[in-house]
């Protein structure tokens, strides 16, 4: 089943927590705890040495994972056979994709049971080759939209993205912020006007309140740095699971109230 179908079938506001693969010895425990806490999809970061769109937290997490010897193929081998019932969406920078070649990389993702792929340094004009390889392999290549994306281009992104559209809530890097950017809701609505795919808002969403606020105008949220901050501070799968559960409840309560 396609990633889009699986997301739509949840019938609720979507929650996609993020974890940097290989961050600890027992990092796959975080995947299990996310699934148990009600994640609708999980973003799995394959760490890169030079993550130019990431703020301090994800940079630190990437460095820590690489220092532990994490590699893209090692991470994929560890998730093989985990039997999670939640779709996994890999995210990484294009250099790692090119290292294998687009087709081989997508095939490796597919082999490990990954459903989708996010490549933040691959905009529309460069995405052709990977989009083709992904489509041929059955991997959904998720495109990103940003507050600075003009409308005709937004239409093109919504048309060519697969699975969902990743809406970057603000002009900046990943990382926790005190408040959700004003640009977030407006962007989500603009994307929904030009396409049918689910829209997930990410960047700077770290509290249940922010998640609820973001989900009012989008189909769901991505939470990354707030989770990685906890993990870097020593939180294990259970602790982080409690936090994801809080996000889940906040999103569900909001939906119930609006019903």
């Amino acid at each position: 089943m396609s990633l889009e179908r699986r997301l739509r079938d949840r019938g609720r506001k979507l929650l996609m927590p993020y974890v940097t693969g290989g961050i600890t010895d027992d990092w796959t425990g975080y995947l299990r705890s996310f699934a148990a806490a009600g994640a609708d999809a999980i973003e799995l970061g394959l760490p890169f040495s030079d993550p130019t769109l990431d703020g301090a937290t994800i940079q630190e997490a990437s460095d820590a994972a690489l220092a532990r010897g994490a590699t893209a193929h090692g991470i994929l081998a560890e998730i093989d056979g985990l039997g999670l019932d939640v779709p996994l969406v890999a995210s990484t920078y294009y250099n790692l994709v090119l290292r294998d070649g687009t087709s081989a990389f997508c095939a490796a993702l597919r082999q490990a049971g990954i459903a989708g792929l996010i490549v933040p340094d691959l905009p529309l004009e460069e995405a052709g080759e990977l989009a083709e390889a992904a489509a041929a392999t059955g991997i959904d290549l998720v495109l990103l939209a940003s507050p600075s994306t003009p409308s005709p281009r937004l239409y093109e992104i919504a048309r060519r993205s697969r699975g969902f559209v990743y809406a970057v809530s603000r002009m900046g890097t990943t990382g926790e912020r005190a408040a959700l950017a004003e640009s977030a809701g407006a962007l989500a609505e603009r994307i929904k006007q030009v396409g049918d795919l689910p829209v997930l808002l990410g960047f700077g969403i770290s509290t249940p309140e922010q998640a609820v606020e973001a989900a009012r105008r989008a189909d769901g949220v991505v939470v990354g740095a707030a989770i990685m901050r906890r993990i870097l501070d020593g939180a294990g799968p259970d602790d982080v699971g409690t936090y994801v559960t809080a996000l889940r409840r906040a999103l569900d309560q909001e939906s119930d109230e609006r019903r």
Binding site: D50, T52, G55, A72, P120, L124, E126, T149, T173
Partner: protein, 385 residues
């Protein structure tokens, strides 16, 4: 040869590999540059600044004593004599003028050795802009004098403690900062790297080196064109500017890289900092750290045009060791009375090696771009000489 650069591609290399949030900003820079380069008023303003502020044209200096020792004829293109002491200022003034034309009030830049940072601080002061310069912690230590120069000129210097704490990380941080500041700030890339239009634009602003040298060689050499044209390559801007003046001649083009930072010689296809080119990386696709005695060459990749010229066989890329570089700097100082930047000394070092090895035929004419002066390297050299 149709200039592929205008389309943002050099064969398989170049491109626009930036986050969606930077696409509009890059497109805006590209549009503004296309407009500016065909505007006689813009070109005139730039030429005036280059003449009156930078001191162009820079001389083409013969090097008679070193030439006699090596049995070849050396000509030095003296970018070390520009205001601020390196070729970086040529590009910075072009981009700073473009930034004011675009209504931006602040320049963002990365710097390795600090020469680009100093040039940016200078251009910003000259045009009434603010400047924020990102510099790796290790380079801040190695190049303390340039840090002070930038601050003296009113620039803010941000120390980058991430990763290898050198130029690569300073570049990443400058890009991250730009994402949050595209409305008011202009990213002034210092080399022929980055997303389109930067590799093309920076080369166009640096081609003044090659264009001047071409004319000067025509006056200085019976053959009009030298047999060899040699320049050091980190990202590759002084080489790109120099080569641009000779790519349509029979001159052999040689780019000299640091042994520990040889993107063109030892890199593999990859994408970093917005462009597709050759990068030093491990078997897993992680970018590896460059190591060189010259902070300005500590970059793990090479500009896309150099990767392309290499593939075409039009230019050749070679490496020299730190020891050869120090020896070459001392030798040029003591034979010609010129202390080159350690970056520029890479070009000298290869010429010395090639002449001694008989690779340069006796009497060969060799143009070397001396991209900068060595004042900034005194504390490094003090320990070694």
């Amino acid at each position: 040869m149709k200039d592929l650069a205008e389309r943002g591609r050099f064969g398989d290399y170049g491109g626009l590999f930036v986050p969606e949030s930077l696409v509009a900003a890059c497109r805006e820079v590209e549009g503004a540059f296309r407009e500016a380069r065909s505007d006689p008023g813009f070109r005139e303003r730039l030429e005036t600044l280059l003449a009156l502020h930078v001191g162009r044209p820079t001389p083409l200096t013969p090097a008679p004593r070193l030439s006699a020792e090596l049995g070849v004829t050396l000509l030095l293109k003296r970018e070390d004599l520009t205001h601020t002491g390196s070729h970086k200022i040529n590009n910075v003034l072009g981009q700073a003028l473009l930034a004011t034309r675009m209504g931006r009030t602040r320049l963002i830049a990365e710097t390795g050795a600090g020469m680009h940072g100093v040039a940016v601080a200078t251009g910003a002061a000259l045009l009434g802009l603010r400047a924020t310069v990102f510099m790796g912690e290790r380079d801040v230590e190695r190049q303390a004098l340039n840090v002070f120069r930038m601050r003296m000129l009113g620039a803010e210097v941000v120390t980058v403690g991430a990763g290898s704490r050198t130029l690569k990380d300073a570049t990443s941080e400058a890009m991250r900062h730009w994402v949050s500041a595209t409305e008011e700030a202009y990213y002034c890339v210092g080399s022929v790297v980055g997303p389109t239009p930067y590799p093309w634009m920076v080369r166009e602003f640096q081609r003044v080196i090659g264009d001047e040298a071409r004319g000067q060689c025509a006056g200085a050499l019976a053959s009009a064109v030298p047999d060899y044209v040699v320049a050091c390559v980190g990202g590759g801007s002084n080489a790109a500017g120099t080569f641009a003046g000779f790519v349509d001649t029979a001159a052999r083009l040689v780019g000299v890289e640091a042994e520990g930072g040889a993107g063109a010689s030892r890199g593999r296809l990859g994408v970093l900092h917005g462009f597709r080119s050759l990068f030093l990386q491990d078997e897993h696709g992680q970018i590896t750290e460059a190591h060189s005695i010259a902070a300005g060459l500590d970059y793990p990749g090479v500009g896309p045009e150099h990767a392309y010229l290499r593939d075409l066989g039009r230019a050749r890329y070679v490496t020299v060791s730190d020891e050869e570089v120090v020896g070459a700097a001392v030798r040029l100082a003591r034979t010609e009375g010129i202390v080159p930047a350690l970056e520029s000394a890479h070009a000298i070092a290869w010429v010395i090696r090639a002449a001694v090895a008989g690779e340069l035929p006796p009497g060969a004419t060799v143009l070397i771009t001396l991209s900068g002066r060595g004042d900034k390297d005194m504390s490094t050299l003090k320990e070694l000489v």
